[in-house]
């Protein structure tokens, strides 16, 4: 029996898969987390790319704790959802692409956070180039995660 089959037999997995409200409750938490983490990082990326009227985006670093809490909510709810069909999900291509996109998005967010701190520390902000490449990659990562996540149900 593989680790993923074992996971599917745990009490958590059985509650998620078989109780009346387990799955819808977790999906509800998962979409709240999605809106928070993807929503905030999409806004930050659009600001950095100059697509929101030249707003000073460096202070956006104060939104990171909220974005991380959305990510944490989705890690927990996602793990519980995963447990109910672990052996199926672990070989699902859209699922694996989604996890890769999220991992990339998190790494890019950490790098972006550092660049924003540099901009804030300079105070004048002059001469510092906008981290446009990071923002474009971040935009692709989070939209990619949304696309792949939606496709899990279809493949």
């Amino acid at each position: 029996m593989s680790a993923f089959e074992w996971l599917e037999g745990t009490r958590l997995a059985l509650w998620v898969g078989e109780s009346l409200w387990g799955y819808p409750l977790l999906l509800s938490l998962h979409i709240i987390g999605l809106a928070i983490v993807a929503g905030i990082f999409l806004m930050l990326d659009l600001l950095i790319l100059g697509l929101a009227g030249g707003v000073k985006y460096a202070t956006f670093r104060d939104l990171f704790p909220l974005a991380w809490s959305g990510l944490a909510l989705n890690a927990v709810s996602g793990l519980a959802l995963f447990s109910s069909q672990a052996a199926t999900f672990i070989v699902s291509v859209p699922f694996l692409v989604k996890i890769a996109c999220i991992a990339a998005g998190v790494v890019l967010a950490v790098l972006l956070r550092r660049r924003l701190q540099v901009l804030v520390d300079r105070r004048d902000g002059a001469g510092a180039a906008a981290p446009r490449l990071l923002a474009v990659l971040s935009l692709f990562a989070w939209i990619g995660a949304i696309i792949a996540g939606r496709l899990i149900a279809y493949f």
Binding site: P24, L34, A35, G39, I40, M43, L51, K56, D62, R150
Partner: protein, 162 residues
């Protein structure tokens, strides 16, 4: 009345078109999810600042994100209408969908209140300071309504059909 509307849509050309394609529905879902991320992301930043938090962000400049909320809403209005036209019998009698539409209406009226009563006064407030009670009320109602819309939408497949 609901019966008549559903019967008129079912079998119509647009209904046939949506149902005849296997890739259109997942594509609409993907666009709907991207749209909700844009809408909720923009509203989170704007409303949290309007509620008096995140004071390191310039109050007025956060409102430059509002066009992205409009883009997100427009994407979801179009894709949402296509969901309804594709499967009207399922949505029309679904209590989750009905409550969701009422909440969207409430969020819309609240946005109108923001445009008429709050936005004109924005420039006079400290861009890095606290906000008046009316602004806070509008901000919290907006967040509550949109997140409730999000929840009801996600629960449509699980909530009783009338």
């Amino acid at each position: 009345m609901i019966q008549t509307i559903v019967q008129n849509i079912e079998g119509s050309p647009v209904n046939d078109w949506i149902l005849s394609s296997s890739w259109l529905w997942p594509l609409l879902e993907i666009i709907h999810f991207i749209g909700l991320s844009l809408l909720l992301g923009a509203m989170l930043v704007v409303d949290l600042r309007l509620a008096g938090y995140l004071r390191s962000l310039n109050l007025v400049s956060t409102h430059r994100l509002l066009p992205w909320a409009t883009v997100g809403f427009a994407l979801n209005l179009v894709t949402g209408a296509l969901f309804f036209l594709g499967d009207p019998g399922r949505y029309a009698i679904n209590i989750g969908f009905q409550i969701k539409m009422v909440l969207v209406l409430i969020a819309g009226l609240n946005a109108l209140c923001f445009l008429l009563a709050v936005r004109p006064k924005l420039a006079g407030w400290d861009p890095y300071g606290d906000t008046p009670p009316l602004a806070k009320g509008v901000a919290w109602l907006s967040l509550a309504a949109w997140f409730a819309v999000l929840l009801l939408g996600r629960l449509i497949p699980y909530i009783g059909t009338g």
